[in-house]
């Protein structure tokens, strides 16, 4: 009997999980707990704080078996952890959407960087625009660890086209909860030697890739 129940559960799990799409939520955690900006943490036994964490997400699509099944109306979203409302991208659909994967870009595409003045998420008052040269800052992360660190990642011209594509698939989750783990991000970069990135370049490209790899489906 017990065995039968197990088989039944296994069967359920193995069916591709096709749940009704919900709002897309971006979270960030530090050592497993939801990040609180400006709170005291330790990193490898050193005191640390994180003061600014925001990034652009663009061209989100939900997929089912490789086909696009949903695309939010807005192309560009600024996720700012100082503004909880910004962490959610609303899915505006009355129909039940079957999906098994999500795709989005971390950052802003080249053509948009070449375009004229924009509003909404792309308004330069959001502090995500380099003013001395053209270009959006895709990813901004600042804090203190031994010294102040500032990561302003971006760039839209080769070889420093910093936008990253992120593909995530859903298997064991009902919710579109996407998480960015800060500690694993810090461990994946050369933190000791690179504490400041404020312009497009090799360091910005490497950190952009590392950042894109740290988006995970929350389990």
């Amino acid at each position: 009997m017990h065995c039968l129940k197990n088989i039944f559960v296994l069967l359920l799990v193995s069916i591709p999980f096709l749940v009704k799409a919900q709002d897309i939520k971006f979270n960030t955690t530090y050592q497993g707990y939801e990040l609180a900006l400006n709170s005291a943490y330790t990193y490898e036994e050193n005191p640390t704080t994180f003061s600014i964490f925001k990034f652009y997400i663009s061209d989100v699509v939900l997929l089912h078996k490789g086909k696009v099944v949903y695309q939010p109306k807005e192309r560009f979203h600024l996720i700012d952890f100082a503004n909880p409302a910004s962490q959610t991208i609303t899915i505006d659909s009355k129909k039940r959407i079957k999906f098994d994967a999500i795709q989005f870009n971390l950052g802003i595409d080249s053509a948009t960087n070449y375009a004229g003045a924009q509003d909404g998420a792309l308004d330069p008052i959001n502090g995500m625009y380099w003013t001395w040269q053209s270009g959006y800052i895709n990813f901004k992360f600042e804090g203190h660890l031994d010294m102040d660190f500032n990561y302003h990642l971006g760039g839209f011209q080769q070889p420093n086209y910093a936008m990253q594509k992120v593909d995530l698939s859903f298997k064991k989750t009902k919710h579109i909860d996407i998480n960015f783990e800060i500690e694993s991000f810090l461990k994946s970069i050369d933190f000791e030697n690179i504490s400041t990135v404020m312009s497009p370049g090799i360091n910005g490209n490497a950190l952009s890739k590392a950042a894109a790899n740290n988006f995970k489906v929350k389990r």
Binding site: D119, T131, S134
Partner: protein, 344 residues
Amino acid sequence: MRFKYLLIALFVIPLLLAFYIKENPKLYPSHFPEPYYNVDSLDYNKLQLGRALFYDPILSANNTISCNSCHSPYNAFSHTDHKLSHGIFDSIGRRNAPPLFNLAWQKDLMWDGAIKHIDKQPLAPIHDKIEMGSSIDSVLMRLQKSSIYPQLFVKAFGDSTINSKRFLKALSEFQLSLVSAKSKYDYVKSGLDTFTKQEQNGYSIFKANCNSCHVEPMFTNFSFASNGLPVDTKINDWGKYEVSNKSGDSLLFKVPTLRNLTYTYPYMHDGRFANLNEVLNYYTHGLNQSDYLSVQLKVGIDLTPNEIVDLKAFLLTLNDQEFVFNKENKFPRAILLNEASKPK
């Protein structure tokens, strides 16, 4: 009956056409290429708002510096007599402010091409600590509190919302309207004037020696190049390299237009040459064969003193006095002085 309508149409259509042409005069003559930005449908009210913003020190942190502090209309919107332009708190910049005209043909802005769209350009001086020392947020806040701007935004955009997109678009509208196309050279091209013998000779010398980079009729090919000038070790300005980090871009600066030279001295990105004689002397006698020197200059320019005099005579035909003295481009007294006289 039908004939009557035809007759009316025959009269009315040319009349309407004439009216239309009069209402929408092209900003540039037929010998100009198609501009990169559309300048055929500039909006008068947006343009006037942009003009007010251009001349208003409200853009700077302490209400002292406006765009025209470094881009004066009397100097074809450049900063004459200053090697390096200066900004807020008497700070000295790193470059000589370039003149502002025919911007609609320029894809890459700034000496190093750092800015890729004219709308985004004002963000640079506004935020620069040694130019205006402010930020777009505080500029918008000051404009919202002002006694004149809400109504100027209503006129330009239909309601009093003041946001960065409208602010930047208005400034673009004014700057795109700054077209310099009425020099003697342009009148000659249009068949309305003729060169003197000396100017004509200078024109031939120009075409043989200068036109590969300073391509007529814009007198620039809008590219970035090195004319061999060694880096100023105090300013340490590496030009386009500072934006791209590519070694091949070292010491590349935008090829400047040669229009309105009389009004835009001193010359070069750092204003190191005070007058045209120094510039022509450099190209003909002092050219520095650096590793970065552009291909076009590797052969050298060999001119006799007489040829230099003729070349200079031609270059002076590129001055556009009508543009420099155009009242429509100047400080909008009616708007801005009204504001100053009102009690806060």
